[in-house]
Amino acid sequence: MQETAKKGQWVKIHNILLKAGERSPRVPEDTRKVPLEMWLNGFLKDAEASIGETVTIESFIGRQVKGTLVEIEPAYEHSFGKPINELLNIGPKVRKILEGSSK
């Protein structure tokens, strides 16, 4: 992974908005134990920065936001998943029911 970003590069920053002890008393216990975190993508404003450094970015709509540089050229990696046998058998089975009735 690229470790250093240059000005104008698309990067992701991270911030802690509320620490574990600052969370709303209304949230469940497991959530209260962890901080409220935030991530945001934007163009790097600093001349050069390494992962872990505090940087400023300009968001897509021009807002300047400070945070810790955590990723350079962040990608969307969600996918279509793996084949699911329990789904794959549905089509052939219902088609058989339909074919059986039209005979």
Partner: protein, 467 residues
């Protein structure tokens, strides 16, 4: 300025007033009671105005599709003379791929008209993409605030996909970990930017959905000679149901309105560990029931989405059944859609088998699908997060533990949530939140309408809950 949690929350009313441009105090009556009808009439737009606004940004007028192969299957599975015809309103044909464009269109129009430079919405779903898309069309800036990740930094694939879509439409996407304090940061952003709060729950959002009800009634008359007998709406926050039902009333359709949600009982919506054990991000009971029983929990002082007023029945489906039906729609009708509308479709198939063959059922939405959203993406993710997936009897489905995919279409069935139970729960919430055991005449009148009940039943609930 003090940006601490408590300081920002204490400025809530002022921030919201500036960000929505509605003086909600004008509609307050007493305690729980407010003038809902007057608020909807004065703040919202007429049906013709909404249609004009929406035609400017190519929203609405989506096709209504008769599901001929599914209907043939339903007939085979039904007793003689039974098996209603199912029609599907293909809302994926809207610009950003869901009915949410209807809801966003009027808010973004209003923001532009009032001179706001941008819009903000707190949403992890299609609504973000819809606001971003409508903002792009009207030249406004857009920020979407999402609850995306658990504390391990693992994102729900459907929500990650929504982030991609929002960025694709030029919005800034702020992604947060689990927790209702999202609202705190939402307020911070509203205060900092001075943007419009494109809340899902203003009268604008609801007025935007009303044409869905009138359109489908006109289309059903063209196709079958009469309005739909039943319209099924996937129910979460209540706006889809409220807007559609109001449209159906304006079209004088006489259609029964049925809510459908996926069962996620036992999973806590604000729990970090439960977050990624949900295989549905909306259309589920985790939103559906709280919003039906206490609508004013939303991000505006008075929620324009009041589903309990308009619901005739409430049907609950399991996750596995909805995945099954999603596959059925693709395989038999050649339409890859969902998941959202497929909760209703699942209810429709189970219900159609009980109805007469000359009756009709409309499933009033679809949504676009793709990476992160399709069943294979969600089920792969479920397995990675320790949820079992197997073929079997849907009755064995357990939210967060087991997703049971039916082996046979005959196994598709709904569970009916008794509306008396929902109404009683509404009364319970009202007593708790307003710390009251007795209500004034004005309040009782309001509650009768808001819970769609009668005075006798309402007083009985209050009496039962007192003890």
């Amino acid at each position: 300025m003090d940006m601490s949690y408590s300081a920002v929350m204490s400025r809530k009313n002022e921030i919201m007033k500036n960000a929505v441009g509605i003086d909600y105090s004008r509609y307050e009556k007493e305690g729980i009671a407010f003038d809902y009808d007057r608020m909807m009439d004065e703040v919202g737009y007429t049906l013709d105005e909404v249609k004009a606004i929406q035609s400017e940004t190519s929203v609405g007028n989506t096709p209504l599709v008769e599901l001929k192969e599914i209907n043939r299957l339903v007939k085979i599975l039904s007793e003689k003379g039974k098996g209603a015809r199912i029609f599907l309103k293909d809302e994926a044909a809207n610009p950003s791929g869901s009915y949410k464009d209807r809801r966003a269109s009027v808010s973004v129009y209003e923001a532009k008209k009032r001179g706001y430079k941008g819009v903000i919405a707190a949403t992890s779903g299609n609504y973000g993409a819809a606001v971003a898309s409508q903002a792009a069309k009207r030249g406004l800036k857009c920020i979407i605030v999402q609850e995306t990740f658990d504390s391990r930094g693992v994102g729900q694939p459907e929500i990650v996909e929504k982030a991609r879509a929002c960025e694709g439409y030029g919005a800034e996407v702020v992604q947060l970990t689990v927790g209702p304090e999202l609202f705190y940061y939402f307020l911070v952003l509203l205060e900092e930017t001075g943007y419009f709060n494109a809340s899902l729950y203003t009268p604008f959002g609801i007025a935007g959905v009303e044409p869905l009800g009138t359109e489908l009634t006109r289309q059903m008359k063209e196709k079958t000679g009469k309005p739909a007998d039943y319209v099924i709406v996937t129910h979460a926050g209540g706006g889809n149901l409220t807007g559609t039902a109001r449209g159906l009333l304006k079209a004088d359709s006489g259609s029964k309105v049925i809510a459908a949600s996926v069962d996620l009982s036992g999973l806590h919506m604000a729990s970090d560990t439960d977050f990624n054990r949900k295989s549905f991000t909306t259309g589920h009971t985790g939103f559906g029931i709280p919003f039906a029983t206490f609508p004013d929990r939303s991000d505006v002082p008075r929620n324009a989405a009041r589903a309990l007023r308009y619901m005739d029945r409430y049907l609950i489906l399991t996750q596995g059944e909805v995945f099954y039906v999603t596959e059925l729609l693709a395989q038999l009708e050649g339409m890859q859609r969902g998941p959202a509308g497929n909760t209703s479709l699942c209810a429709a198939i189970a219900l159609a088998r009980e109805l007469d063959e000359n009756e009709t059922v409309v499933v009033q939405e679809t949504e676009y699908t793709g990476a992160g959203k399709c069943p294979s993406a969600q089920l792969t993710f479920a397995r990675e997060n320790g949820v079992k997936v197997y073929n079997g009897d849907p009755k064995d489905n357990k939210p967060g533990e087991a997703i049971v995919i039916p082996g046979d279409p005959k196994q598709l069935h709904y569970t009916q949530m008794p509306l008396e139970k929902v109404r009683k729960s509404y009364v319970k919430q009202a007593m708790k939140l307003y710390s009251k055991k007795a209500f004034s005449e004005t309040e009782l009148d309001f509650m009768v309408k808001d819970a769609n009940t009668n005075r006798e039943e309402l007083e009985r609930y209050i009496k039962e809950l007192e003890s």
